[in-house]
């Protein structure tokens, strides 16, 4: 192949850094893009403002521990309580990861390098997962460090903190695989933002209605299943099953057993498969 285009320029004979390097570079570039680093100041406002909002309950929690020696927000319930902010972050930032490349049709440029579709999608999913994980893990860690420094009565809740971190990672993977799959359907950022938040609101706003109906008609075991419609409560149900924490729901609990965990794995698989299928089609254009 190279002979066809060989018009006498000097060949590149420096070190070839390989596919792992290019995937890593793409991941870091995408992760920086999520927070607007390396972009205009205007695109930094929203991710960092949402990050600051996520830190507010951590500050309140530490203040409560220091001044009233009472625990504020539990580690296990953090993601569920802050779900609106996390969902807005996902909706606002997932399209910035995937939309520009589709919109400006630069995907063929990536794929003309030793980057395959699988590596491209992996890099994007890892970047979004890492961003969401940071959004959740930083406030959790701040609360934990605060707890250690203040030296509360009783042993520190290390197990609950680590459990919350693990579940934050699972939640981040679930949200980013679905968020990116939906956002990648349109090259328009605005429409991508609206689609992701519409799906989240559909699940979160219908849960209380379905739960309330089933609960008031006496079908309490059926009502417990309603919570699993929302990704945040679904992951919380897995946390209850894995780490034995208290469910963060107003009444009753989640359906027992490993079903929520299986659902999470299946949903992550569906999200990733949809994303891969979408990019196989987009790359063919």
């Amino acid at each position: 192949m190279s002979e066809i285009y060989d018009i006498g320029y000097r060949h590149y004979d420096g070190p070839r850094l390989g596919r792992g390097y290019s995937t890593r570079a793409l991941t870091v570039h995408s992760l920086r893009g999520v927070f607007g680093l390396g972009r205009t100041a205007r695109s930094k406002i929203i991710p960092f403002a949402l990050g600051v909002i996520m830190l507010l309950p951590a500050v309140v929690s530490i203040a409560m521990m220091a001044l009233m020696s009472r625990r504020g927000m539990s580690y296990s319930g953090f993601a569920v309580y802050m779900q609106t902010v996390v969902a807005i972050f996902l909706a606002a930032q997932a399209p910035t990861v995937v939309a520009p490349d589709l919109r400006f049709r630069v995907l063929p440029l990536y794929l003309s390098r030793p980057v395959t579709i699988a590596e491209y999608v992996t890099a994007k999913v890892i970047a979004m997962t890492a961003a969401l994980f940071l959004l959740l893990a930083v406030p959790l860690t701040v609360i934990y460090v605060g707890e250690l420094v203040i030296d509360m009565d009783g042993p520190p809740q290390t197990k609950e903190y680590l459990g919350a971190l693990v579940m934050a990672l699972v939640l981040a993977l679930l949200l980013s695989s679905f968020g990116l799959a939906i956002a990648s359907l349109t090259p328009r950022r605005g429409l991508g933002v609206a689609s992701v938040i519409a799906l989240y609101l559909l699940t979160s706003a219908s849960v209380p209605v379905i739960f309330g109906t089933l609960y008031s008609t006496g079908n309490e075991s059926g009502a417990a299943w309603a919570w699993l419609l929302n990704p945040f409560w679904l992951v919380d149900a897995v946390q209850v099953w894995l780490f034995g924490t208290t469910p963060n729901v107003p009444d009753g609990g989640y359906p027992p057993g490993p079903v929520p965990a299986i659902l999470v794995v299946v949903l992550i698989g569906i999200g990733l498969a949809a994303l891969a299928a979408r990019y196989r089609k987009a790359a063919a254009r």
Partner: protein, 238 residues
Amino acid sequence: MNSVVAGITYRALLGRRRIFLLLLLPLALIGLAVMLRVFGGDDPRSAELLMAKFAIGTMLPLLGLIAGTGVIAPEIDDGTIIHLMSKPISRPAIAQTKFLVAASLLAVFAAVPTYFAAWLLVGNEDGLAAGFALGALVAGIAYAAVFLLLGILTRHAVTIGIIYALLWETLVGSFVPGAQKFSIQQWALTIADQLSGTPFLTANVTLGFAVPALIIVTLGAVLWAGQRLRVFTLTGDE
């Protein structure tokens, strides 16, 4: 008002994938209403819950966002607005036409399904269906105006709109009662409360505040949008 501009805008909104989003939420509302009816939850209390939380609280701001920004933001985004603005049509008239398109879409996709869902649950009892439909209609018009303006002011219109609808109207409004005075949602609930005699709904804003506020916000946003479009400069993507 310009019928050609209106036609182009209708086609852009209804002919693309955006229509799935416009249909998804009303269908979910009607689906939930049917589910409530089947499971025997069709009492005024759960009807009120579904209407206030889902129809007014979730569906209406989202549809307002999709329709309000959708009539103008994509054209600004890909620069085709330049073809519209270089024609001898008054730019405030373009803004007003686009506002009317967004408002009419909200009437069809938000107010009508709201009436239908409420009617499915309680019939014409207490004027609940009519009250919520009128609230959704009036608030939909206000949302269309505000989000149209936002779409002209900033490229991050959808994100900022979501932050307003979810964080300000819902979260901040529930902690700081004063914030509810500046919430289109609450104004819609006030109007719904006025028309329906249901005891489960209590409005947090008086009618004497809500009605002038709705009129001022709608007119002000449409006029401001027209002014912004007059001095509009198209800049590149970041």
